[in-house]
């Protein structure tokens, strides 16, 4: 599907952001429901060719973007030649504006000096490292196959070579205590990241962890403890200058992930690769998550998209509110909202928002609405009434 370049359109219709997916992993982690596969590295070259082809088919000509995010899977699982080839193709199809952000996800144990150098050469300026935990028992519970020391080693490789880098952490892992969580946060902070993504564990349907939970082999952390963990994360990070800017994201001022902010502004984005989602000109579509089908379809010159969805204006406006509120600092700015959606925030959602302000879950300064501290813990109670 060839789309005409429409750079005259505003950022919520025409993408200034690109997501590229690389599905290969060394092994499948227990909690993972991403489009990732283990044991298919032999298909990597074919996959890269398909990616190139998909970029060509969808774009027709290079599209300038402000942010690129190469995620997975584990992009750095590719061998150096493959990685170099991928970076070159991305740079060709998605020329980055000056000062743009280019992130690559990496897993501990998959990085080495050569790969780091080649990423730097390609123009990558941000790396996101999947640490998840520094406690061996908790890594085991997640079925991660790296050791805590490998995170430190990866950080050593990354630090100084990229202006920005981030760590991923997970709390609420079965078997963990508040003390574990505190220790993980401390260990992460000790490495000096300027950005942290810190999630409460989700038991995604179909994952190994979910099956264990269903079978009663795994007991989730109780809600009170989980809440305490979340509070610890927020407060400890804030003390160290990493302030919460989204439900699960923390950064030093100016170090926020610009690419992810695109999602929470409900802006448009391109997506290529297995299971990748795109949002172009008001249409959301998602590629198939089946690797064989993806390859087959792209190689046959067909798009790999599955179901697409175009929301009507009101539904899109509601969705925008739901996404924007996730931004704990920016929240929803009334003027910005109206400009982007064509709806007055109060006209569309006034009574519901007022009720939540009343209940102390939202704060309203007249211009902006954002979650109160309490509201962050009960965000879904609010968000579900906005959609």
């Amino acid at each position: 599907m060839l789309i005409a370049l429409r750079t005259d359109l505003p950022s919520w219709l025409w993408p200034r952001a690109a997501y590229i997916h690389v599905p290969f992993c060394a092994h499948k982690c227990g909690y993972c429901d991403f489009a990732s596969v283990a044991g298919f590295d032999h298909l990597a070259d074919r996959y890269l060719s398909a990616l190139e082809r998909e970029m060509g088919m969808t774009l027709g000509q290079p599209a300038v973007v402000d942010t690129i995010f190469v995620g997975g899977g584990t992009p750095t699982r590719l061998d150096p030649d493959q990685l170099e080839r991928l970076m070159a193709k991305i740079a060709h199809w998605f020329p980055l504006t000056k000062g743009g952000e280019w992130t690559v996800e990496a897993n501990p144990g998959t990085l080495d000096v050569a790969k780091v150098e080649l990423l730097v050469q390609a123009g990558v300026n941000r790396v996101s490292l999947g640490a998840q935990s520094f406690r061996p028992a908790l890594l085991a519970a997640l079925e991660r196959n790296h050791a805590p020391e490998e995170v430190e080693r990866a950080v050593e490789l990354v630090r100084g070579r990229f202006p920005r880098w981030s760590l991923d952490l997970i709390f609420g892992i079965p078997g963990s205590t508040l003390a574990d969580c505190e220790a993980d946060v401390a260990a992460a902070l000790a490495l000096g990241p300027s950005h942290l993504s810190c999630y409460g564990l989700v038991y995604e349907k179909g994952t190994n962890l979910w099956k264990q939970w269903q079978a009663g082999q795994v007991v989730p952390v109780d809600e009170e403890t989980e809440r305490a963990m979340y509070e610890t994360v927020i407060d400890r990070l804030a003390l160290s200058g990493l302030s919460m800017y989204e439900i699960s994201n923390y950064a030093r001022p100016g170090h926020e992930s610009r690419h992810n902010l695109v999602y929470w502004a409900n802006d448009a984005y391109f997506g290529v690769g297995l299971g990748a989602a795109s949002y172009v000109d008001g249409v959301r579509s998602v590629n198939t998550r089946d690797l064989a089908a993806y390859l087959r379809r792209i190689e046959a010159g067909e798009p790999a998209t599955g179901p697409t969805e175009r929301l009507d204006a009101e539904a899109r406006a509601r969705e925008t509110a739901m996404l924007m509120l996730r931004r704990t600092v920016l929240g929803i700015d009334r003027n910005d909202y109206e400009l982007r959606t064509g709806y007055s925030l109060d006209g569309l959602l006034g009574p519901a928002l007022a009720r939540f302000v009343d209940q102390g879950l939202l704060e309203d300064d007249g211009q902006r609405l954002r979650f109160s501290r309490e509201g962050r813990f009960l965000a879904d109670r609010v968000l579900c009434e906005l959609v």
């Binding site: 009170e224 996730r326 879950l361 813990f377 968000l383 009434e385 959609v387």
Partner: protein, 601 residues
């Protein structure tokens, strides 16, 4: 020219539920040529969505067909009626518009509770009964045995009983012949002043109220001026027609004919089911007998889920009442639920159907409170009150006598299940009346039971205790004093009127404990702790606490997750649609209904 009444036959098909009335109606339509094989579909007359989804008839449906016998064309007006006990009133209204009734009996199931009830109803209306055994194509059919049963219970000569398969059409020509031979033609006076009985109606957005009538005397003509006798309003007939089975317009309906009348009736309240249409000038003096008001046995509050839809609900109720005259409604105000209506129904299924029709036909979301029966209370001051809303029950100190409705219940069941059902009735404060045997293996068991002990779930219990073979029928026989009290529910310090229930004092503690436990499971957690208490008067008999919600947040939402996350949130929102805010606690529809559920968990 109207059809010569001599060649008209008006009859209903009545039977126990599922004995094949609608299927037989299909065959009568098909074999008379009213529909072609191509137009045929099973239970064609069950054209309401709810009827097709549930596979049962809810509304009686009238159809006119022509049938030629020995060279003479006859017009047959048949009414397919519902079999479920809750729709008994539909049957009684249909029978009042007929001279005959086909009494259908499933040849595998035999005589069941509604077979007996409907047969008595037909006899009470002086109708000619044409007994027909159905489903004789089935392996399990036992025609000879069942004929015996029919003779034994209804006193019908086995030689008179026809045998058919409504499925294959076998034996159906005999049904036509017997109807024509045995059912008398309508006996009204063609030249007398017009009298037509309104037996049903429906609301049409364009044409107003369309009435369904049977002409008893005189004739209805397009262009004629008519009067609705009860309200005395005059109108002009702009359209007439018959159901064949589709609406086919005609110019005139004469004696014995059944059809619809369009007369620009915009005022919903002008039309009453059971009213008589006459002509002006030359109006008839005496209206037709009309119908007895049905007695509603279960009541519940219906409230719009969003409080600004009260007027929409009122309109929806008025419209539906045109098509179902057997439920009642009157405005009610609840502290907890705001403005709504207290509605009365003929049974639990009827309640469910009315609620679903209201929601579907008028696009409303409703919150329903737990059903209850009507109580009779004699106060210390000597007044006698009839109360169908537990909140209205006076304080215990003001009650002299608390009476509850009693039903006489007939069970027809396999003889080896008698013990189990007797136990069930004893547990429910029943009084044994008698047992009779229909055959060595089947019996009729009669009990007097408090209505409140039978109406909600006894039918289901009976079905499971008898492997589906037991059936039941009941009639109200009056009120009896009982040791009853009102159990109130207090949520977060506030009494929730809509959750009050009436219970027997001996069971009050157990019910109270169970109720608060149920509610604990049904009420969502809030930002704060919510205490739930059960109380009789000011005495708290049970208490549970719902802990506060501490964390409810979807951790991740990136590009690929947005659609999925939005859908999950939409689902959560959907669940909240039927929530009512009581004080600062949200209570779900399920919670309101859970107070009824007496099953152990």
């Amino acid at each position: 020219m109207a059809f010569d009444p001599k060649y008209i036959r008006d009859f209903s098909i009545v039977a126990h539920i599922d004995h094949g009335k609608s299927t037989l109606a299909d065959q009568l339509l098909l074999q008379s040529g009213a529909i072609t094989q191509r137009e045929f579909r099973e239970q064609l007359l069950d054209d309401m969505d709810l009827e097709r989804e549930r596979g049962i008839t809810i509304k009686a449906r009238a159809v006119a067909i022509n049938y030629t016998l020995d060279g003479q064309v006859y017009e047959l007006n048949l009414i397919d009626t519902p079999g479920h006990v809750d729709f008994h009133y539909e049957v009684s209204r249909s029978l009042a518009a007929c001279e005959g009734a086909i009494l259908l009996v499933d040849a595998t199931q035999g005589v069941q509770a509604q077979t007996v009830a409907n047969a008595f109803l037909a006899v009470g209306n002086d109708l000619t009964i044409v007994p027909v055994l159905n489903k004789i194509d089935m392996q399990a059919a036992r025609p000879e045995e069942i004929k015996e049963e029919i003779m034994h219970t209804l006193g019908i000569d086995p030689a008179e009983i026809l045998a058919v398969s409504a499925k294959t059409g076998q034996g159906v020509p005999d049904v036509f012949r017997t109807i024509i031979d045995r059912v008398p033609p309508p006996s009204g006076n063609p030249s007398g002043p017009l009298r037509a009985l309104i037996f049903d109606s429906k609301f049409d957005d364009y044409q107003g109220v369309i009435t369904y009538v049977r002409v008893v005397d005189g004739a209805l003509k397009v262009g004629q001026k008519i009067r609705l006798m009860a309200g005395g309003t005059d109108h002009e007939v702009t359209g007439l027609g018959q159901f064949r089975p589709r609406e086919i317009a005609c110019d005139e309906l004469g004696v014995g004919q059944v059809g619809y009348v369009i007369a620009n009736l915009k005022q919903l309240s002008d039309v009453r089911i059971g009213d008589t249409i006459t002509q002006v000038p030359g109006a008839a003096e005496i209206p037709l007998e009309g119908y007895h008001e049905p007695v509603q046995v279960v009541f519940c509050g219906l409230f719009p889920a969003s409080h600004n839809q009260f007027d929409d609900l009122r309109t929806a109720l008025q419209k539906l009442a045109l098509n179902d005259s057997s439920f009642s409604f009157e405005p009610e105000t609840s502290d907890a639920l705001g403005f709504g209506f207290r509605c009365g129904f003929l049974g639990m299924l009827h309640m469910e159907i009315v609620q679903q029709r209201l929601e579907r036909e008028s696009n409303l979301a409703l919150v329903q409170t737990a059903p209850n029966v009507t109580y009779e209370i004699v106060t210390r001051k000597g007044e006698t009150l009839h109360i169908s809303n537990p909140t209205r029950i006076p304080d215990p100190g003001d009650i002299e006598e608390f009476r509850e409705p009693i039903a006489k219940v007939n069970f027809i069941l396999p003889a080896d299940c008698i013990g189990a059902i007797m136990q069930l009735c004893e547990d429910r404060r029943g009084v044994f009346i008698k047992t009779e045997y229909l055959s060595p293996t089947r019996a009729i068991l009669t009990y007097e039971l408090p209505l409140a002990e039978m109406i909600y779930d006894l039918y289901d219990k009976l079905k499971s205790a008898t492997r589906g073979y037991g059936t039941m029928d009941y009639e109200l026989i009056g009120y009896r004093a009982g040791d009853l009290c009102r159990l109130d529910i207090v949520v977060a310090g506030q009494k929730v009127d809509a959750l009050s229930v009436v219970v027997h004092r001996a069971h009050a503690d157990r019910r109270g404990r169970k109720l608060v436990r149920k509610l604990k499971g049904e009420i969502d957690r809030h930002q704060f702790e919510v205490a739930i208490q059960a109380a009789i008067g000011s005495r708290v008999i049970a208490r549970e606490t719902i802990s506060a919600l501490r964390k409810n947040v979807t951790a991740k939402c990136y590009g690929g997750d947005i659609t999925r996350k939005r859908k999950l949130l939409e689902k959560q929102k959907e669940g909240k649609k039927r929530m009512k805010q009581v004080g600062n606690v949200e209570i779900s529809q399920d919670a309101f209904l859970s107070v009824l559920d007496d099953t152990d968990d």
